[in-house]
Amino acid sequence: MENLIEIRSLDVRFYLKEGTVHAVNGVDMDIPANRTLGVVGESGCGKSITARAMLRILPPRGKIIAGSIRLAPRDSQRQPIEITLLAPGGREMRAIRGGDISMIFQEPMTSLSPVHTVGNQIMESVRLHQKATRAEARDRAIEMLRLVGVPMAERRVDAYSHELSGGLRQRCMIAMALCCHPRLLIADEPTTALDVTIQAQILNLIERLQKELGMAMMMITHDLGVIAESADEVAVMYLGRIVERGSVDAIFNRPKHPYTVGLLESIPRIGKGNTERLASIPGTLPDPFQQPPGCPFHPRCKHRMHSVCDAGDPPPARKVAQGHEVACHLYPANGEGRP
């Protein structure tokens, strides 16, 4: 297996009272070791659900109904681990969670326990995954807090999450995620709830730790600026599908899919002044219970072709350049598509 994680044709559905939501549809994704995959999309595009499926922490009504998620073994002699076949609460999955794959969440206030000190929460993870005495685990917790730049770590280890600011809480979350040297860190909107100057601190920290510890990373965000500065490869998602994927350079400088183009045009850019009218994508995200037929983006697409885009199956991903794929009827299989 070349990559650390290989996801193939992943389908996740939510069975709710109001109907069925096709949250993730046929997603293929590769994350190579030591690289950063940026996953970008708007709310409801399935980016967080894909990550949660990898950790088997889907909400109760979410089910993986097809596809595979394979994790490369630590020992290359062994077989890849098929995550979709493991029991979510089983011993193997618990060893992967935190041990091989860790996740940091958007809201550090709600994802830290209010009744345990941050030190105890880090120690819990250390003692679950490694053989360590309480004292060793505590030393390890202090060491981790120092690593993520928490000042006065030996005192903060006994602090509760409400005693810390948003930036420090996010640092503690990162310390907890990294204390067992995971091979993949999933960062789900890690800086969205933070102020810009604190966001810069946390992005710098994540960048530094990734280099020092040699991890792969999956950076999930709606912020194209964060993606441009942190990712090597980018996957653009819309309504549970990857509509375009490529290197960060290709996605930002040679975007192909009308949705990617629209997203890039609709963000205000600093330094462009106040005269410019923003290009916007018309319409809104459709009702999650009723996905449009054909290409999911066609109701909002200015290039839609009658009876091509609005019927049949969604367009498959096709290669437009080395390492650059797009799922759009404008780029047919036989080569040159429209610009």
């Binding site: 102020d195 100057t197 601190q201 992005l203 600026g225 500065e229 330094g271 009218r277 916007s280």
Partner: protein
């Protein structure tokens, strides 16, 4: 430049911190400290800063949703200058039709049990605007003006997406034909593709209806896109204020420089070194002495720890509160 619609002078808000059984005052927070600015009729002033800097409190003080500790707020309505701070409750209620507010979160600011028609018509009814038919005409006209279909008027807010809800909020704010609209983070809860629609809509409505905006936001690129002038706040004070392009291309305050630099740019490889401010936003209940920004400032000298810098004019309508503004060279965008 048109005449000033709103003139704010020395606006200050002090929130006491009380402790114990007898609510003894044990200190306080200067949420807004000696803030002065003017907004010309038809202009947009952007107010930008990080959480806790006092930008929202400033907006709420102007609307008299909370009462000021000190300072003057003069609203010029035609020939009349009205002192907002001294209006009585009744006068204030009648006057509020001239100034309205758009909130950040369109999910919590609409009553789920009212139809869209009732939501938009409520201000008209409260201000006794005409009869039923007139009210409905006005609501219909405005619904179309904000880009919603008239058929939606009988529906309830839950049936709408975030962007559509924000359009309803905008219609509600504009239904009384206000002069001044205070937009408090109107697009930060929206998806990127919808954010652009709402920014464009706010600009179009401003042109058509001659609105004046105080646009409060934390996102510099959004503020730049909509504002004619921008004021940057830190720890309750305005630290820099200038015309938009002047501020973005030639910032004079180190905090403004750092804010602009910290913003991730959607251009891979564009970053040439990140200015990372150490520490966190100053604690407003325990401000550092001298310039509140000095513990995080890479240009700070001993003098910055002693005296609080005043907001002073530097060249063309550019105000800056930094002791070293003349000496240091800062990078803009």
């Amino acid at each position: 430049m048109n005449a000033a619609l709103l003139k704010v002078q020395g606006l200050t808000k002090f929130f006491p911190i009380t402790t114990g059984l007898f609510r003894r005052t044990a200190g306080g927070i200067k949420a807004v400290d000696n803030v002065s600015f003017e907004i010309a009729e038809g202009e947009t002033l952007g107010l930008v800063g990080e959480s806790g800097c006092g930008k929202t409190t400033t907006g709420r003080l102007i609307l008299r949703l909370i009462d000021r500790t000190a300072g003057e707020m003069q609203f010029n309505l035609g020939e009349r200058g009205i002192d907002l701070g001294t209006l009585s409750r009744d006068e204030l209620r009648r006057f509020r039709k001239h100034m309205q507010l758009i909130f950040q979160d369109p999910f919590s600011s609409l009553n789920p049990r009212m139809t869209v028609l009732d939501i938009i018509a409520e201000p008209l009814r409260a201000h006794k605007y005409g009869n039923r038919a007139e009210i409905e005409d006005r609501v219909r006209w405005l619904t179309q003006a904000v880009g919603l279909q008239v058929e939606y008027l009988r529906r309830y807010p839950h049936a709408f997406s975030g962007g559509q809800r924000q359009r309803i909020c905008i219609a509600r704010a504009l239904v009384l034909n206000p002069k001044l609209v205070i937009c408090d983070e109107p697009v930060s809860a929206l998806d990127v593709s919808v954010q652009a629609q709402i920014l464009n809509l706010l600009k179009d409505l401003q042109r058509e209806l001659g609105l004046t905006y105080l646009f409060i936001a934390h996102d510099l690129s959004v503020v730049e896109n909509i504002s004619a002038r921008v004021a940057v706040m830190y720890a309750g004070r305005i630290v820099e204020m200038a015309a938009t392009s002047e501020l973005f291309h030639h910032p004079r305050h180190p905090y403004t420089e750092a804010l602009m630099n910290a913003l991730p740019k959607p251009e891979p490889g564009a970053r040439t070194g990140r200015i990372v401010l150490p520490g966190e936003v100053a604690d407003p209940s325990n401000l550092p002495p001298g310039c509140a920004f000095h513990p995080r400032c890479r240009y700070a000298r001993d003098g910055c720890r002693e005296a609080t810098p005043k907001l002073r004019a530097l060249g063309h309508a550019h105000l800056c509160a930094c002791h070293r503004a003349e000496e240091i060279e800062l990078g803009g965008v």
